[in-house]
């Protein structure tokens, strides 16, 4: 399995390096604006997949509460690491209570 992991790592790296090898003249202002928007769209999609899905279906569970508390803390400008830590604690705590 270690060789499968190495080959997969090289495959993933190929995307990373490819982005740096695109010739400058292809990177128009419109394309740059697109790459900037992609950052936002992907992060939002990752929140969705990581927070609202389980084994092939969309679900609502304690992670929603963790995200809600996280959003409130971010709105109150709490430090990032504290927000993530409290998110974990909220989910762990609610599960301990049987949710």
């Amino acid at each position: 399995m270690i060789w499968t992991a190495i080959i997969a790592s090289i495959a993933v790296y190929s995307w990373k390096i490819l982005g740096y090898l695109v010739p400058e003249r292809f990177i128009t202002p419109a394309f740059r604006a697109f790459a900037d928007r992609v950052t936002v769209a992907l992060l939002a999609a990752l929140v969705g997949i990581q927070g609202f899905t389980l084994a092939g279906s969309v679900v609502l569970d304690v992670r929603v509460a963790a995200l809600g508390v996280g959003a409130l803390m971010l709105w109150l400008r709490a430090p990032y690491v504290l927000v993530v830590l409290v998110g974990a604690l909220v989910a762990a705590g609610l599960r301990l209570l049987g949710f």
Binding site: I17, A44, V47, G48, I49, L74, L89
Partner: protein
Amino acid sequence: MRRQVLSTSISVGIATGLYGISFGAIGVVAGLDVPTVMVLSLLMFSGASQFAFVGVVAAGGAPLAAITSAWLMGIRNSFYAIRLTSVFGPLGMIKLLSAQLTIDESNAVSAAQQTKEAQKLGFWATGIAVFIFWNLATLLGALAGNLMGSVEQWGLDAAAAVAFLGLLWPRLRQQLALALAGFGVALVSYPFLPAGIPILLAAAVALIPWRSKA
């Protein structure tokens, strides 16, 4: 400014470590040995791709399926790299290194900064901080994996979701419509498509020239 960027970077590094523990534990529970789990964190170094790889292995999938899922999950790093190219200008051989550090977190912290200087610093500081904490945490998780029980029990799955929300947060006020579209497309398509594809589909909403609020 410099101080603030560095403190954000380290903060993101530590927070990423939290779910790095979860990755290490999940990897071992999925049946990978500790060196293989570490190869993924050191060489692949892209959280979503690593989780995809381990997910396929845990489900008893073929090696080729594991490689393909990880690969598909990594496409977005290419977009990040393109964004970063215009921040950096010519990099020479250093691009081999910056490519390895091009991930959600380093790009997000960079994109949240106002000046070019801060954007560069944000990328390098976050990339290096995440690399260090992610790998230490993976090792810890892999060694403790079988003792930990489930990562859900520790809320580590929620930590990852909250971490992505935190990275998105600085951009939400200006680009709320775009974010909601990406979120919606990913979730609506998720039940019907193979792992990795819903995320790609969400990237496609960025093709629409959404106006951002100043």
